[in-house]
């Protein structure tokens, strides 16, 4: 039956992805190997240099393979073709955030150093958006490839990893349901800002930053309102319970 076969294929695809879920992160045992092997790494890093000119295409991959000293045909080493190139961009940009963490937070002139967690999240998200600077004019093509059904799970996975990385580097320590709402909210904000950026012609992407800050402020006021209502409800409930107890009701 066709639908069930499609479903099996999808499950297989999902299983084939390494590092599929967020897992225990060890500090004193070495990290497991990255998702690209040496051959892929060589071809992709060489091909990545051709992206601004040729886009996230098979052509860029062939040029990269030639630069890396492989035959043109060896782009077959790279399983998903152009999508692997996009994924390489996503992974390298995400991993580039951690080493620059201190630099990012110290601010431009120490006047606007990011001290609170929301401010750090804003800085890191902005820094990650700036990582798209060189490929921004090609990013709409990339988004189209990422939206193809077979690539959607991996793309969403990368988005989730990025958002988790931003929260971790910003020092967010939530361990309750807000862990999920914060990450979900930032995923939406990041994806829409990225889309906004592809049409942004303002100098140094100033409009995108304003857009990002507006969305984050909206998210902040929404979560503030929800938090306020929850706090009021729980206070009222426990106060009511205590009044009943003081009246001698055995509860």
């Amino acid at each position: 039956m066709a639908p069930s076969r499609a479903l099996t294929r999808l499950t297989l695809l999902r299983r084939a992805q390494p590092a599929a879920l967020r897992r225990y992160h060890s500090y004193d045992h070495p990290a497991p190997a990255g998702i690209f092997n040496t051959g892929e790494q060589a071809i992709l890093s060489a091909a990545y240099k051709h992206v601004p000119e040729h886009g996230f295409t098979q052509h860029a991959l062939s040029l990269g393979a030639r630069d890396a000293g492989y035959l043109d045909i060896s782009t077959n080493l790279v399983p998903d073709g152009p999508f692997s190139l996009i994924r390489y961009h996503l992974v390298t940009q995400r991993e580039a955030l951690a080493p620059r963490r201190e630099l990012i937070f110290s601010g431009d002139a120490n006047a606007n150093a990011a001290t609170t967690v929301p401010a750090r999240i804003e800085r890191l998200t902005w820094e990650r958006l700036l990582g798209n600077r060189d490929v921004n004019h090609r990013w709409q093509e990339a988004l189209a490839i990422m939206a193809q059904p077979s690539h959607v799970p991996a793309s969403l996975q990368e988005l989730a990893l990025l958002v988790d990385e931003i929260h971790f580097q910003a020092g967010d320590t939530s361990v309750d349901p807000t862990w999920y709402t914060k990450r979900g909210g930032l995923s939406i904000i990041y994806a829409s800002s990225e889309l906004f950026m592809t049409n942004d012609r303002s100098p140094a992407f100033g409009d995108t930053r304003a857009f990002l800050q507006r969305r984050l402020a909206e998210g902040g006021s929404l979560s503030g309102a929800v938090g306020g209502v929850t706090q009021w409800l729980s206070f009222t409930a426990s106060a009511g319970l205590n009044v009943l107890r003081s009246k001698g009701v055995r509860i």
């Binding site: 879920l21 967020r22 897992r23 225990y24 992160h25 060890s26 500090y27 004193d28 045992h29 070495p30 990290a31 497991p32 190997a33 201190e102 988790d164 971790f168 020092g171 320590t173 361990v175 309750d176 349901p177 862990w179 999920y180 107890r245 055995r250 509860i251």
Partner: protein
């Protein structure tokens, strides 16, 4: 020696030479090592948030230079096991604090002499929750998605057993702590198997894991102490004892099974 003197002494004197040997240390050595490493790390800390990563500390580099054996990267299964273990422990301690929070007012109202015991058990559980909260943030483990459900169920369980009386409340504690003690023992056993395998292959076990296992042992012992308190306070007198405890134990097992997964 008062603790403040001890701390300032620690700052002046170089840390003790490492106690580590390749064979597995007896329990109290593990504790000692943890205490030494933990407290002196606090003194050296430079204030940067990530500097508490053991690889960057003075002891760790010293240990490494004395102990050149490599450390093995964690496999996918091991990382899965560790994340689900930390997640389920955090969930369990959350539930435990909520059970005691809900039990305390009706129970203490009826039996004022239980106040110190309940406060003591609650304080220990709150400490455990804090430990696991910081561990899951540090190791980037996802907290359980069913947080609201567990909160509701734990509060309901605590409150209803407390309404049923002192014996029922104690039987609840007994049932929960029996399951939890067994659960921690299983985790410790799996960790020890992991260590043995590493040692057999000639790899070193990181400080992080020695700390983790001594934390688990300490917490397990405290949970079993609660079990003893419950039995001392007539948990076995609850009617119907068998029904109450087997229901609660089955519930605990179900909750553990679920929160290992979601």
């Amino acid at each position: 020696m008062p603790p403040s003197c001890e701390k300032s002494l620690m700052r002046i004197m170089p840390p003790m030479p490492p106690l580590r040997s390749h064979t597995r240390l007896p329990l109290y050595h593990d504790f000692l090592l943890t205490a030494v490493v933990a407290s002196s790390r606090r003194c050296i800390s430079t204030g940067a948030r990530q500097s508490d990563a053991p690889t960057e500390t003075y002891e760790a580099t010293r240990l490494k230079s004395l102990n050149p054996r490599p450390r093995k990267p964690l496999t996918k299964e091991q990382r899965d096991f560790l994340s689900s273990a930390l997640r389920v422990n955090q969930t369990g301690e959350l539930a435990a604090t909520l059970i005691y929070t809900a039990q305390t007012p009706p129970l203490v109202n009826a039996h004022p002499h239980l106040r110190p015991l309940m406060a003591h058990m609650y304080d220990q559980e709150a400490g455990h929750l804090k430990t696991f909260n910081s561990l899951i943030t540090k190791h980037r483990v996802r907290p359980t998605a069913l947080y609201p459900l567990w909160s509701l169920m734990a509060t309901g369980l605590g409150w209803s057993t407390a309404i049923m009386g002192r014996e029922a409340a104690m039987a609840c504690t007994e049932a929960v702590e029996t399951e939890i003690g067994e659960h921690y023992n299983n985790q410790i056993r799996s960790l020890l198997e992991m260590f043995e395998q590493w040692e057999a292959e000639g790899y070193e076990v990181g400080t992080e894991f020695r700390d983790l296992i001594s934390t688990l042992r300490r917490i397990r012992d405290e949970e079993l102490e609660h079990l003893d308190h419950a039995i001392e306070h007539d948990a076995k007198e609850a009617r119907p004892y068998w029904l109450l405890t087997s229901l609660i134990r089955a519930g605990c097992r179900g909750a553990i099974w679920t929160s290992e997964r979601v």
